[in-house]
Assembly symmetry: C2
Homo-oligomer: 300 residues x 2
Amino acid sequence: LLALTILGSNSAIPAFGRNPTAQLLQTEECSFLIDCGEGTQTQLARYKLRNSKLSYIFISHLHGDHYFGLIGLLTSMSLLNRTQELHVYGPEPLGKIIEIQLEAGEVSLNYPLHFHPLKQEGIICQTGKMEIQCFKMQHRIECWGFLFKEIKNPRSVDTAKAKTYEIPLAFYEQLKRGENYIHKDGRIIQNAEVTTAAPKARSYAYCADTLYDENIANKIKGADLIYHESTYLKEEQQKAFQRYHSTTIQAANIAKIAETKQLIIGHFSSKYEKLEAFLAEAKEVFENTTLAVEGSCYKI
Amino acid sequence: LLALTILGSNSAIPAFGRNPTAQLLQTEECSFLIDCGEGTQTQLARYKLRNSKLSYIFISHLHGDHYFGLIGLLTSMSLLNRTQELHVYGPEPLGKIIEIQLEAGEVSLNYPLHFHPLKQEGIICQTGKMEIQCFKMQHRIECWGFLFKEIKNPRSVDTAKAKTYEIPLAFYEQLKRGENYIHKDGRIIQNAEVTTAAPKARSYAYCADTLYDENIANKIKGADLIYHESTYLKEEQQKAFQRYHSTTIQAANIAKIAETKQLIIGHFSSKYEKLEAFLAEAKEVFENTTLAVEGSCYKI
């Protein structure tokens, strides 16, 4: 299981029934919440997404539409008797913002909360099966994107065949890593003869609020699924630039350069009620585009 | 016009479609928002209540279900180009909580925001037509109730009659204040002969999270409408006490002692889906009780 559910798709203010940004990435092991606009706890409940598997929260930047729902979610989980630890990653001032609000309410959370300030690009955490990297977006304030990659499993050994070739058990770990086996008499057993590759490691890239920047495409190259903000239609490219946001065409260009399989666009400006034009424009550049629709779930 | 709209009626966490606490008191002159749980900006929009007349916000205490929606509302009003000033009253740490979040987002509001920390019981502000007092609730942390009173208009002079009695124009201000007029020859003109009283000044008392405390009833005596929290049914009186909350019976007792005309109860615990028992129990003690139902509007 690797599935993404859109919880909020709007920018700046809630409008036309669209909530501010939040997404949930689910694996069998645990869930990852990406951004947490106001109302996210209600959205999680609406789509019957349980908080019990939620172990990591990533906040891209400290504009309210990306994090004003965090403190409510954190305190509600405590009221609902959560006990397992939770990790929150985000720009450094977020730690203080959480702390000052817990203090003011004299709230002590029921579970261990670990805040990790984001400092530089690279791997920020590893779970058993996933590795998460952060990378910089080009926004008006400090802003991060997140790349979620499955940790590639080792090759699996066909033990029957390996026995036939008289490969000792002690060498199986090397086989899993892809090495050939060489018999004392010099016979070489090709690794592919006795092992099969694990399924391709899947990945999801979340590109938060940003100017168009092709460097981002290179950082997420080959991701199976990409979300990229598209606050404006192409006709508003100038406004997008002034406000450190992207257009449909720009988001689709990033998807194309990154050679992804599928693009989701979202963070729609509140001035647009209808979104058909967003889809049509992005598809001109990158055919396999979809709109971030709240409640939609994308299997990766 | 003096009308109260319920925007949220639940305690602690959103549940059963009920939002955390918020209420809007509207007058012709301006509107007053009382508490501002998460999602209040969405609730204001849902009930088509315009923010343009909202000039005062009162936060009772710093538990999240009473103020986590404030920062979102403040920043959204700025994004929507509000320019008129706004006054926020609440416990002292709220000022810093707002400030640190504006700073983190590098947000400068489009309008003047004045924060007034609550320090002692008494009058905290006066508009042209209303006077607002705060008074202490008995909660686990610092918590305030608010009393909204119309400023009583002067008596109005029946100028035709006043002329008949040969009362000079210069004395009209004294007539409005209720004084009798004494002619030089000693004839006394009773004030009531030439003036009529202004309509009774109306009032609304908001009693936020609290233990049962009869002192509160005395502070709001005679208020036309009272809201009092009723987190639990009467069978949970012990739990209510431990958690610094009130029951149906206790809320109704306050209404009875305060000799109000109407009581609204709310802040229902998330453990109750159905609320009929709340109404039935409160009515045993105070007949004219209603439940805080979101979207309901009470004319005072």
